[in-house]
Amino acid sequence: MEWIARSGRRYDIIHCNDWQTALLPVYVKTLYADREPFRGTGTVFTVHNLGYQGLFWNHDLPMMGLGWELFTPQGWSSTGRST
């Protein structure tokens, strides 16, 4: 994400696959939403195996630079963990 922001290039679509890249759509719409290179960037998320969700301790959320407002059952909380 930061490389894109500094590269001067723009991308129409970012295609993400499974949990390892699942934070990118979040960053496009939150932390990077006001950054010029990401205006108009759409995201595609492809699920290969929903069984591997990448569950993490919820206190890792601030490490990712994201706020607690996203950590709800309607958001990405899953039985108290972030996924």
């Binding site: 993400c16 499974d18 949990w19 890249t21 699942a22 934070l23 990118l24 759509p25 979040v26 496009v28 719409k29 759409g42 995201t43 595609v44 998320f45 492809t46 699920v47 290969h48 929903l50 069984g51 591997y52 969700q53 990448g54 996203l70 958001g75 990405w76 899953s78 039985t79 972030s82 996924t83």
Partner: protein, 45 residues
């Protein structure tokens, strides 16, 4: 994984069949409702 389902503009899966399966409790692993909140579900094939 759930974050990607909720925040992506378009979702896809590896097959038509799998796109339906992950919306069932048996193969949704608790996220069977999450994929339906996104704008679009399409398939990669």
């Amino acid at each position: 994984m759930k974050a990607g389902l909720l925040f992506a503009d378009v979702l896809s899966t590896v097959s038509d069949t799998y796109s339906r399966e992950i919306q069932t409790p048996e193969y949704g692993y608790g996220l069977e409702g999450s994929s339906t909140s996104a704008a679009t579900i399409s398939t990669a094939s």
